[in-house]
């Protein structure tokens, strides 16, 4: 043992290791890797892996994230998150095309007298035309921004026992599986968003081995702190109140 590590032991007790006793290594054999199907090329093809990951992450997130392998790199979760972002964008674009007349009618019923400026009109046209094409880039940016914000909360709440940024990124990326509900028109995106938050909380809890309350704080605090989140919710409430 070096002087450096002896100092660490005095001030910063190492993580407890229940399997190691005095003078012997009673550590059980390493558990088999719990790989998501998306990254398990030995047992799943690319497409089968993708479509098996979605129901597993959505219906049994606790089992999905238990003993989830970390330090395999960021490529797997990032590609999954970006692919989900593209598919969701595609679904939303198709639904907006199919229901644009209905949305106009709905806005009229709500008494909406919002006049779109030429600039806003051009932005909307650009998004409708190219939004699907740039959606992978936007999904990538959103994934890193969200994972970074959540990881700040994890670092604050985990007392130094967290498993690193990759674990948080994996929880957030695979929680994106729930956004597939965007294929359901009208309310699908909203339900998917709530479901995604639930999966992210469970994922952060399992991946970092922290309690449910700290995980809930870590996932929701960035959204609650975010002005857009609060004001967006208030805007919705105000719209409902105006009905």
């Amino acid at each position: 043992m070096t002087d450096e590590s002896r100092d660490d032991r005095a001030d910063f007790p190492p993580d407890p290791d229940p399997y190691r006793g005095e003078g012997e290594d009673r550590r059980p054999p390493p558990a088999p890797e719990n790989l998501p199907p998306w990254e398990d090329r030995a047992n799943f093809s690319l497409i089968a892996g993708f479509f098996n990951t979605i129901p597993r992450a959505m219906t049994a997130p606790g089992r999905f994230f238990t003993d989830h392998t970390v330090r395999r790199g960021l490529w797997g979760p990032i590609t999954f998150g970006v692919l989900m972002g593209f598919l969701v964008s595609l679904a939303e674009w198709l639904w907006s095309r199919a229901t644009s007349d209905f949305e106009d009618t709905l806005l009229q019923l709500l008494g909406e007298d919002y006049e779109i400026t030429p600039l806003e009109d051009s932005i909307v046209t650009f998004i409708e035309s190219f939004g699907v094409l740039v959606s992978p880039l936007l999904a990538l940016v959103a994934l890193f921004v969200l994972a970074g914000a959540v990881h700040l909360g994890v670092m604050l709440m985990s007392s130094g026992r967290q498993r690193g940024f990759e674990a948080t990124l994996r929880a957030v990326a695979y929680a994106n599986a729930a956004t597939i509900l965007a294929v359901v028109p009208m309310c699908g995106s909203l339900i998917g968003l709530v479901w995604m938050l639930v999966i992210a909380v469970i994922g952060v809890r399992q991946m970092h081995g922290i309690g449910t309350a700290p995980a809930l704080f870590a996932v929701t605090a960035p959204a609650v702190l975010c002005c857009c989140g609060l004001s967006g919710a208030t805007f919705l409430i105000a719209q409902l109140a105006a009905l």
């Binding site: 001030d11 400026t117 970074g148 007392s159 702190l225 002005c227 004001s231 208030t234 105000a238």
Partner: protein
């Protein structure tokens, strides 16, 4: 608190992901007039009269980008402090990548973690009270 050898290079390398995002955000802030600012007024403040803890964050970011530090803290101390810490992290990441001897990881004792948590909560609540009073 003590600084030991770097345990994981990922947090440092991530700075090179977030730096372009920060630049893009700064560019958007500088050109926000393109987005019809009167339509982007905060609905929470508009409809309830109550500011949220991040109220003034955009203006604080703009002030910092123009090196007006006191103005940034006057707009929103929480966001100003977070942006300064983000900037310091980016500087560290660049320096430590170029000079490996600068690489390190900060380790906090459990008591220090608790203190940090209390400080963070206090900062958020303090900023919120400040913003509410400022907009009252």
């Amino acid at each position: 608190m003590r600084i030991g050898p770097e345990r994981d290079p990922l947090p440092r390398l991530l700075a090179f992901v977030y730096a372009p995002l920060a630049l893009a955000a700064w560019w958007l802030l500088e050109h926000r007039d393109l987005l019809a600012p009167d339509r982007l007024a905060c609905p929470l403040l508009k409809y309830t009269g109550v500011a949220c803890p991040t109220c003034g964050g955009t203006r604080a970011g703009l002030a910092l980008a123009r090196l007006r530090v006191s103005e940034a803290f006057a707009e929103n101390p929480l966001i100003a402090l977070m942006l300064i810490l983000l900037g310091l992290w980016l500087i560290y990441a660049v320096a430590a990548t170029l000079a490996p001897r600068l690489r390190g990881s900060v380790r906090l004792a459990p008591g220090e973690h608790r203190l940090l948590r209390v400080l963070a909560l206090g900062l958020v609540l303090g900023t919120w009270i400040y913003e509410i009073v400022r907009h009252a």
